[in-house]
Symmetry: C2
Subunit: 664 residues, 2 copies
C-alpha cells in the first residue's frame, strides 16, 4: 500500500475465515508459502525488475529482457539461491525469456535423453550458463505431428559424424524460444538416416553460434520469426527460425540414452525403457497445469478486487452506487473462475504427486500406471489451459472498458498465456488421446484388466449405467458423493455411448475420425470428473485455520455445480439427472454465490501476490484504482508533447483545407 | 495472386455453386458488391495504404495513422467520392483513427440532437473537416450508467453561458477516441444545472483546442490514456482523458433539439419526441451487427484457407498428409463459425431494414414498434459481438501455433475487435434490457397488447408451452419449421419460467436482481431465435445463382443445429425435445459438415476480401503460405543485425562468467 490507505479494508473485514491460513493452503505448505513469499518480495522490491513500463519499451523491449535475464542470473549467484529458489525468482520476474527454454527444455532434454557421459560433459556448461541452449523441435510445416519432422541427421561413417540438414523450406525449425538471437546451442530433432534407412526422429546437440563473436556457425542460418500477439507478452522472447545446410557434428552429440549409433553405423537400442519419454511428458504437463492455476488466479484477483472498487448504478438519494461485485450476473461469471483457480491449484498439487509416483514406478520397471497417468496429464493440460485462457479474457471483460487498457495488466496476461493452449500438445489433439485411452479402457472392461487411477470408476460401469440422481432439494447438491456420482455417471455413459457408436463402423479408425467431436466431449467429461474428484479428496484431508475448510467446501460446490449447469445437456441427455434436479442445482449455485461474496476479496488475497507480480492497476491490493490509473496514463509517450508529431504535416493542412497540394 | 500460382485452385474446383453469385448475396445486392469491390481494390492497390508493416511501426504508429487519415481525405476529395463511398474507403483502410469518431459520432450527434440552426452552423465545418470532433461521454468513473455522469454544465444567466466543469477525478472524460491528441471540438455530455437544479445529462458542443496552434484552450486539460490491448489495434487511436476547469461556452452550444434553455434560464422541452434518441441507438447498433459479420467472416476466411493449406498426420507411404480441414474436430469448430458469419450478415441486413422502418414510423409519430426494435437491436448487438470476439480467437487457435504470429493477422483482428463487446452498451447489461422487455411482454400477454415484431411468437405461448418436437429421424432437422418451432418453444418457455419465478418475489426489482443470470439465459435464447428466423426468412426469398441457395440452406441448418447442440440443456430441460432427438441433431450436423466441406473455400472466397484487407499471410487468396511467412519473418527489426543489441552488455559477460562485476 504505497500511500498507506487500504480502500478495500471494509471488504477484508467481511471475511469469515483466516486469510493467513488460506495462504498456506493455496501455497501447498508453509515451506512453499515462505519460499514464494520471500522470493516474490525480493523481486518486487528491486527496481531492476520493474515491469510497469513494459508496454512502453517500444523498440527496447528485447534488450531489456537481456538485461533482466543477466541481472537475475547475477542475483541468483550472489545470493547463492538453490535450484528451487532460482526457478521461483525467474518466474516472479514474469517476462518470457530465452532462459525459460534453457532451464525448462534444454537442460531437461540432456538430463532425460543424454547418456551419463553426455550429461557429465554438457550439464556443467549449461548449469553455469557458459553455453545457452534451446529446444529446436517444431518446424514450419510440422508441429503436432512430431513423427513428420523433415530435418535429417545422416550418419557419415567416413568421418564418424552426423550431417544435419534442412532439405525443404517447410523443414526450417520455427518457433523455438531463445533460438532467434541468443542460444549458442540447441537440442535439435531430426530424422536419423543411416545408410539410406530412416530410423525416425532423434535429438542431437548442435552448436549454433560461435562462443567468441556470437555469429552463426558455417551452414547455419538463424533469425527471429517476428512480432507475436500482445504488446509485450512473448515479444520479449526471440522465437526463431533455423536452417541447416549440411552441418556436421560428432557422432557423440546424438542423445544416446535410449538408442545409439555405433562407430560402424549400427543402430542399437539400449535397455533403458522408451517409456521414459512419457515420464518426461508427464512432468512438463504437470508444470503447465500448475501454471494454469497461477495465471487464472492472477486474472481472478484483478477482476475481483476491481469489481469491489467499481460502482455502477443503483444509487438512491445520492448515496454510493452498487459495487459491481454485488450484481448476480457479475458473480455468476466471476465466482466460478475463482473456484476454478482453486480447483486447478489442487489438481496441480495432486499431479505433482502423480509424477513422483510414476517416476518411482518407472525406476522399479513398473509401467502399469503409465498409460493412465499419461492420458490423465494430457487431458488435464488441455482442460486447465483452455479454461484459463478463456477465463483470463472473461476477467478482462468483467473489468469493463478499463480492462482493455494495458495498465489493467489483463491484455498482457491473456496474450502471454494463450500459447499454452497450443504448445506441448494442441488441446484438441490431446483430448483425442484421452478419448483413445477411454475407448481402450471401455473395451477391456470385460477382461481381467481392471481400470486404474482416474479411470477406476469405470469398474463400476454397470452400476453407473443404472444411476439416477436422488437429489430432492437444493441442499442435496452440497453432498460430495451426490456430485461425484453424477459426474461419474455422466462421464462413463458418454464413454460407453461413444464405444457403442464406434462399434458400428467396420473400420474402427474411420469411426474414430467420424465421431471425433463426440469423443472430445466424452474426454472433457472425464477430465472434469478428475478435477472435481481431486477437489473433493482435498477436502477429506485435515485443513487447519479458522473457516478455511468451509470456504473451500463452498468453492468446490461452486466449481462442480457451475460445470453441471454449463454442461446440463450432457447430464440430462444421459439421464443422470432430471430437469427438476438441474434447476435445483442452479438454485443452490445462487445460494453459494451469496456465501462466497463476503469472502471474495480475502480469497484472492490468499494468493499472496505482490502488486509487482500482478502488474495491474485495477488489481492493486489497496484498491486505490482511479488516481493511479490517471497517473499512469500521463506517462504514455504520446503525452510527451502537447501537439503530436505529425500534426504539422497531416492535420493542420486538413483543417486549413490545404491538403490538395500536400505530399503525404 | 502475386506469383500467379493458385495453391488453392484444387479446392476452388470442388465448389458446387457459383461463387460470383454468392458474392452478390453476401454483399446484399449487385450495387453493394460493386461499391465494395471497387473501393477495396482502390485502397489495396495504393501503397500509401499498406498495412503489413503495422505491427513493426514501433513509435511511429500514431503518426502513420495521421498520414493515412490525411491521405484518405485527400483521395476522397480528389475522386469526389460520395458519402457512401467515403465511408467504404475509410473502412477498407482498416485502421482505427480519430476520423471514425468524427464521422461516426460527432457528426451524427449534431444531426440528431442539434436544432436546424445549430446544424446549419456546425455541420458544414464538420463536413469539410475544418473542425474535427469527438464524442466525450464516458468518464473515468462512469460508463454503462450514463445518468451517473458527474461533469456539470451550469447556466450562468449573467453572461448567458454554460460553465463546463469536472468536479472530481472520476468525472474526467476517459476513453473518447480522437480526443487525446487530435480533436478540435467535442460533443461533451454533462449534467445541466440551472439555479441549483439538476436537469440530468445533456450534450454540449465544446471547443477543445485552438484552431491556430492546436494547444488546449484555457481551462482544458487533455491527454492520451495510454497503451491498449494489441500490437497496433486501437493504439492507432488517441483515446483521451479530458478535464474541464470552469470552461465557458455560449448558451447556443447546448444541443437543443429536444430540450432548450432560454435566455432567462428556463428549461423547456420541445415537441420533438424524446424517443428519437432510441432511434439513434437502433442505428448505431445495427451498424455494429453489420460489422460483426465482417470481422467474423475475415477470421473465418483466414482459418478456412489455412486449414486447407495446412497438412498434419495421416500420411501413408510417404504421400501427402491430411489437410486439417478434413478433420471432424476442425470442421466442428470452424464450420459453425462460417455459418455464423453468414447468419450475422443476413440478420444485419434485416436490421438495416428495421431501422428504416422505425425511422419512417417515428416521422409519422408512431412509436408502437420502438420498444421492441430497441430491445431487438440491443440483444443482437450483444449476441453477435460476443460470438464474433470468441469466434475470432477460436479461428486463431484453429491455425495452431502460426496463428499466434502477428503475420497471421488474427491477433490484431482480435485485439481491435473485442472492445465491441463493451462499447455502446456492455453485452450483459444489454441482455438484461432484453430480458426486461421480455418480462414485460409476458406480463401483458393476457391483455390486449399483442406482442409485435420479433416477439410476435409469444402470442402463441399456450400452444408453444404444449409443444413437443416430432422429429423422428435426422433429416427431420433439415425442415425449417421443425427448427423454428423448437427455438420458439425453448425461448418462450425460458421467458415464462423466469416470469413465474419473478412472481414469487414480493419486490419485483429484488427478484430481477436475484434471477439476473437466468434472465440473461432467457434473453440469449430469444436473440438466437431471431437470428435463426431471419436466416430462414432470407431463404424464403428468391435466391439466384447455381447452387447458391442450397449452400445457404446447409449453412442455415448448421447454424441452428450447432446452437441446439451447444444449448442442449435448455432444449432438454424445457422438454422441447428429448435426448434421442438431440442426438439425431448431432448426427445431422456431422452430415452437414461433410456437405459444406467441398464448398468451404468458395464460401469464404464469396466474401470478396482483398489480401490487403485480410492482412494475413495464413489467409492469402493463393494459399502460398510458407514461403511468404518466411519472407515476412526476415523483415522483423530484430533481424536487422545478426548479433542483437544488448549482447555485449548482458549476454557475453554471462557466457564468459564475468557478470560479477558487470553493471546491469
Amino acid at each position: 500500500m504505497e500511500d498507506g490507505v487500504d480502500h478495500l479494508a471494509f471488504e477484508r473485514n467481511k471475511a469469515q475465515f483466516d486469510v493467513e491460513d488460506m495462504k498456506i493452503i493455496w501455497a501447498g505448505s508453509r515451506q512453499d508459502f515462505e519460499l514464494s513469499d520471500r522470493i516474490s518480495r525480493l523481486v518486487a522490491s528491486d527496481p531492476a525488475f520493474r515491469k510497469d513500463d513494459r508496454t512502453r519499451l517500444i523498440g527496447r523491449l528485447f534488450k531489456n529482457t537481456l538485461r533482466k535475464a543477466a541481472y537475475a542470473w547475477k542475483r541468483i549467484n550472489e545470493l547463492r539461491l538453490n535450484e528451487q529458489e532460482a526457478y521461483k525468482l525467474r518466474s516472479f520476474v514474469d517476462q518470457p525469456a530465452f532462459t525459460d527454454l534453457h532451464w525448462g527444455m534444454f537442460v531437461p532434454a540432456i538430463q532425460g535423453q543424454g547418456t551419463d557421459e553426455q550429461q557429465q560433459k554438457w550439464l556443467p556448461l549449461a548449469y553455469g550458463m557458459q553455453i545457452i541452449g534451446c529446444y529446436a523441435q517444431t518446424e514450419l510445416g510440422h508441429g503436432s505431428n512430431v513423427q513428420g519432422l523433415e530435418t535429417t541427421a545422416t550418419f557419415d561413417p567416413k568421418t564418424d559424424e552426423f550431417v544435419i540438414h534442412s532439405p525443404t523450406l517447410t523443414s526450417s525449425k520455427w518457433w523455438p524460444g531463445g533460438l532467434g538471437k541468443i542460444s549458442t546451442h540447441a537440442v535439435a530433432y531430426a530424422r536419423l538416416i543411416i545408410g539410406g534407412e530412416d530410423h525416425g526422429v532423434h535429438g542431437f546437440i548442435v552448436q549454433l553460434r560461435s562462443l567468441d563473436d556470437h555469429l552463426p556457425l558455417p551452414g547455419i542460418t538463424i533469425g527471429d520469426i517476428g512480432m507475436k500477439f500482445g504488446n509485450a507478452a512473448y515479444n520479449t522472447m526471440d522465437n526463431g527460425v533455423l536452417r541447416f545446410d549440411h552441418v556436421r557434428i560428432p557422432r557423440n552429440q546424438m542423445l544416446m540414452r535410449v538408442s545409439q549409433v555405433t562407430r560402424e553405423g549400427r543402430y542399437v537400442s539400449s535397455n533403458v525403457p522408451r517409456q521414459l519419454v512419457y515420464g518426461t511428458m508427464v512432468n512438463v504437463r504437470q508444470k503447465i497445469v500448475a501454471d494454469a492455476s497461477v495465471a487464472l488466479s492472477r486474472a481472478v484477483c484483478i477482476a475481483t478486487r476491481y469489481s469491489a472498487v467499481r460502482r455502477q448504478f443503483g444509487s438512491h438519494n445520492g448515496g454510493l452506487e452498487t459495487q459491481v461485485i454485488d450484481y448476480k450476473t457479475q458473480q455468476a461469471r466471476l465466482f466460478p473462475l475463482l473456484a476454478s483457480a482453486y480447483a486447478f491449484r489442487f489438481v496441480g498439487g495432486w499431479l505433482k504427486w502423480l509424477y513422483m509416483d510414476v517416476t518411482e514406478r518407472l525406476q522399479a520397471n513398473d509401467f502399469s500406471t503409465l498409460p493412465e497417468a499419461h492420458a490423465c496429464t494430457a487431458g488435464l493440460k488441455s482442460l486447465t489451459t483452455t479454461a484459463t485462457a478463456d477465463g483470463i479474457e472473461e476477467c478482462r471483460k468483467l473489468c469493463g472498458g478499463h480492462g482493455y487498457l494495458c495498465s489493467s495488466g489483463l491484455p498482457e496476461l491473456f496474450a502471454v498465456y494463450v500459447p499454452a493452449c497450443t504448445y506441448e500438445g494442441d488441446n484438441v489433439v490431446l483430448l483425442l488421446q484421452v478419448a483413445r485411452h477411454l475407448m481402450k479402457t471401455v473395451s477391456q472392461l470385460g477382461s481381467g484388466n481392471k481400470p486404474v487411477g482416474t479411470t477406476a470408476y469405470m469398474a463400476r460401469v454397470e452400476q453407473l449405467m443404472q444411476y439416477h440422481s436422488d437429489v430432492e432439494k437444493a441442499e442435496d447438491w452440497l453432498k460430495p458423493n451426490v456430485v461425484l456420482e453424477a459426474f461419474e455417471a455422466r462421464a462413463s455413459r458418454m464413454s460407453v455411448a461413444c464405444a457403442q457408436n464406434l462399434s458400428k463402423f467396420a473400420n474402427p479408425e474411420e469411426g474414430f475420425q467420424e465421431l471425433a467431436a463426440d469423443l472430445v466431449d466424452a474426454a472433457v467429461a472425464h477430465c472434469q470428473l478428475i478435477v472435481v474428484s481431486k477437489f473433493i479428496e482435498k477436502l477429506q484431508q485435515d485443513i487447519p485455520g479458522k473457516g478455511v475448510k468451509k470456504q473451500l467446501e463452498v468453492l468446490c460446490s461452486i466449481y462442480a455445480l457451475f460445470l453441471l449447469h454449463k454442461h446440463l445437456g450432457d447430464f440430462l441427455s444421459t439421464g443422470c439427472i432430471n430437469p427438476k434436479q438441474g434447476s435445483l442445482a442452479s438454485e443452490q449455485l445462487r445460494n453459494l454465490y451469496s456465501q462466497v461474496r463476503p469472502n471474495a476479496i480475502a480469497l484472492v488475497d490468499a494468493f499472496n501476490y505482490t502488486d509487482h507480480y500482478l502488474g495491474s492497476i485495477l488489481g492493486r491490493y489497496d484498491g486505490n484504482v482511479y488516481p493511479k490509473m490517471n497517473e499512469e496514463a500521463w506517462k504514455d509517450p504520446l503525452n510527451d508533447s502537447v501537439v503530436p508529431d505529425g500534426f504539422k504535416e497531416y492535420i493542420q493542412p486538413m483543417l486549413k483545407q490545404q491538403l490538395r497540394n500536400a505530399r503525404l
